[in-house]
């Protein structure tokens, strides 16, 4: 998965969790939970979606690396060998 694929996947996951969010309009370097108003259940669903779609099982200690839109995309791309 390259970064474009990762971005597309994130957009798909967010469409389910936070349908009104337009990825193009949010700050990619801001804390993702605050920026997108995600609670801990939403964030868990996001990480679960990454697992289900790409087979990436993110350990809890890595959660901070997924703390921004850019961080999420970079992590997903690198963890899948992209």
């Amino acid at each position: 998965m390259n970064t474009d694929d990762a971005r597309t996947l994130l957009a798909q996951l967010l469409h389910r969790i936070a349908p009104e969010v337009d990825l193009a309009e949010v700050d990619h370097d801001a804390p993702i939970q605050e920026e997108l108003e995600l609670d801990s259940m939403d964030f868990l669903n996001l990480v679960t979606g990454l697992h289900d779609a790409a087979g990436i099982d993110v350990p809890e200690r890595d959660y901070p690396q997924l703390g921004t839109v850019n961080g999420f995309i970079a992590y997903a791309a690198s963890a899948s060998g992209g």
């Binding site: 936070a18 349908p19 009104e20 939970q33 605050e34 108003e37 609670d39 801990s40 259940m41 868990l44 669903n45 990480v47 679960t48 990454l50 697992h51 289900d52 099982d57 993110v58 350990p59 809890e60 200690r61």
Partner: protein, 408 residues
């Protein structure tokens, strides 16, 4: 039409999931009903055969109105049982001679707005005036706001013409297949704010709240949880919220005086512990459906039930039984929230437990100062049903239970 909460006295059938002739079993979803707060799935409580649907899609009826007739599975000729002639706060809409048929809420709203019910076209059973006739879904005409007391004081009567016209249009609207009365996002939003406002105003008007708060050390709970989650796939992980819910449910078993309902000037202890879980919805508003028998579930089961409940609450797919019977509500602000929440009790419940954000705080143990993850746990309780001693006991039990997370 089941009563899906203290604030509801009418609902609209959005969808039938069964047809006459279908065999249904206890727990099956038979219909979807629209309330001010969200769409609710209605379950059937007995096995049987659907004989007749009594309420058409799009029709709004008062709480207590039979929705369908159910025949016995074994004896086809047995007397049919009405589905959902559920007991409710609303009295039957049948009225004595000379009195306008109306639902209690419609009467209250009319009285507060200074309206004469005889002049309102009723759309309920037998032409009864129901709340919906006085307020269209969504923002109401300003003249019908119950808070508009100045107008009444001046002795002028708000015009009824707009209400009548809207009602007539609504009744005359052709039956559209699908979901004719489904509301737009903005209408839903306004209706939900209104419903929350009514219920919370009633709570603050009727319930003498008292409040308690305590700070709970979560280091044991979170250390245990981290180690546990470390070994689990992301799909199996547990959130701190599940620990807080389970601890609250177990604590309630020790303090039954806070688990139940205030009905007819008396406290009724509930049979089980059904935690109302306050779920905030994207775009505003919240619902607090029941997580049934939370004290009986394992932590994994609490987590799975919580996940499912949050997902369905946000998708507008809650079930009637979940709306009707929470015995105590828990509101958990989560990571993005404030440090502490002093809640408003959901009538007819008698208490509400609140958890703030988990925060590192300075913490003294054995004369030494350290930094620990902590949470502010609060209780709002009904002074008619309990005193501070019972409330303190509940918070102390929650705190104690959270120190032994492996036993939760």
């Amino acid at each position: 039409m089941p009563s899906l909460g203290a604030d509801m006295d009418a609902g609209t059938v959005l969808e039938w999931r069964v047809q006459p002739g279908d065999v249904v079993h206890r727990g099956d979803i038979v219909a979807v009903v629209d309330t001010e707060k969200s769409d609710i799935e209605v379950e059937v409580f007995e096995d049987g055969v659907v004989e007749e649907l009594l309420v058409a899609v799009g029709e709004e009826v008062a709480v207590g109105t039979p929705l369908a007739r159910l025949g016995s599975l074994t004896e086809g000729a047995a007397a049919p049982e009405p589905i959902e002639a559920a007991p409710s706060e609303a009295e039957p809409v049948a009225a004595p001679e000379g009195r306008v048929r109306s639902s209690p809420r419609a009467r209250r709203m009319a009285a507060e707005a200074g309206l004469d019910l005889a002049e309102v076209a009723g759309s309920g059973p037998g032409g009864a005036v129901v709340a919906g006739d006085l307020s269209k879904p969504g923002p109401r005409p300003p003249s019908l706001e119950p808070t508009d007391r100045s107008r009444r004081a001046e002795g002028t009567r708000p015009s009824l013409s707009s209400t009548r016209t809207e009602t007539a249009e609504r009744l005359a609207a052709p039956a559209v297949p699908g979901r004719p009365t489904e509301r737009s996002g903005a209408e839903r939003q306004a209706a939900m704010r209104h419903a929350i406002g009514e219920l919370m105003a009633r709570s603050k008007r009727e319930i003498p709240h008292y409040y308690l708060a305590t700070t709970v050390d979560l280091s044991a709970a979170l250390t245990w949880l981290r180690a546990e989650n470390e070994q689990r796939s992301v799909t199996e992980r547990i959130l701190p919220a599940a620990l807080l819910l389970k601890a609250t449910a177990l604590a309630l078993r020790e303090v039954p005086a806070l688990n139940g309902f205030w009905v007819d000037d008396g406290f009724e202890a509930a049979e089980g512990v059904h935690l109302g879980v306050a779920v905030s919805l994207r775009g505003g508003g919240l619902v607090a459906p029941a997580l049934h028998d939370a004290d009986q579930l394992t932590l994994d089961e609490v987590m799975a039930a919580l996940k499912d409940l949050v997902e369905r609450a946000r998708a507008g797919r809650l079930r009637a039984s979940e709306m009707a019977d929470p015995t105590l509500t828990v509101t958990n602000l989560g990571e993005q929230g404030a440090d502490e929440v002093l809640g408003v009790i959901y009538p007819p419940q008698v208490a509400l437990v609140g958890f703030g954000r988990i925060v590192d705080r300075p913490w003294a143990v054995d004369g030494m100062l350290g930094v620990r993850p902590t949470v502010r746990a609060t209780l709002a309780a009904d002074h008619r049903a309990s005193d501070g001693a019972a409330g303190s006991k509940l918070l102390a039990a929650i705190e104690r239970l959270l120190q032994r997370p492996e036993d939760l």
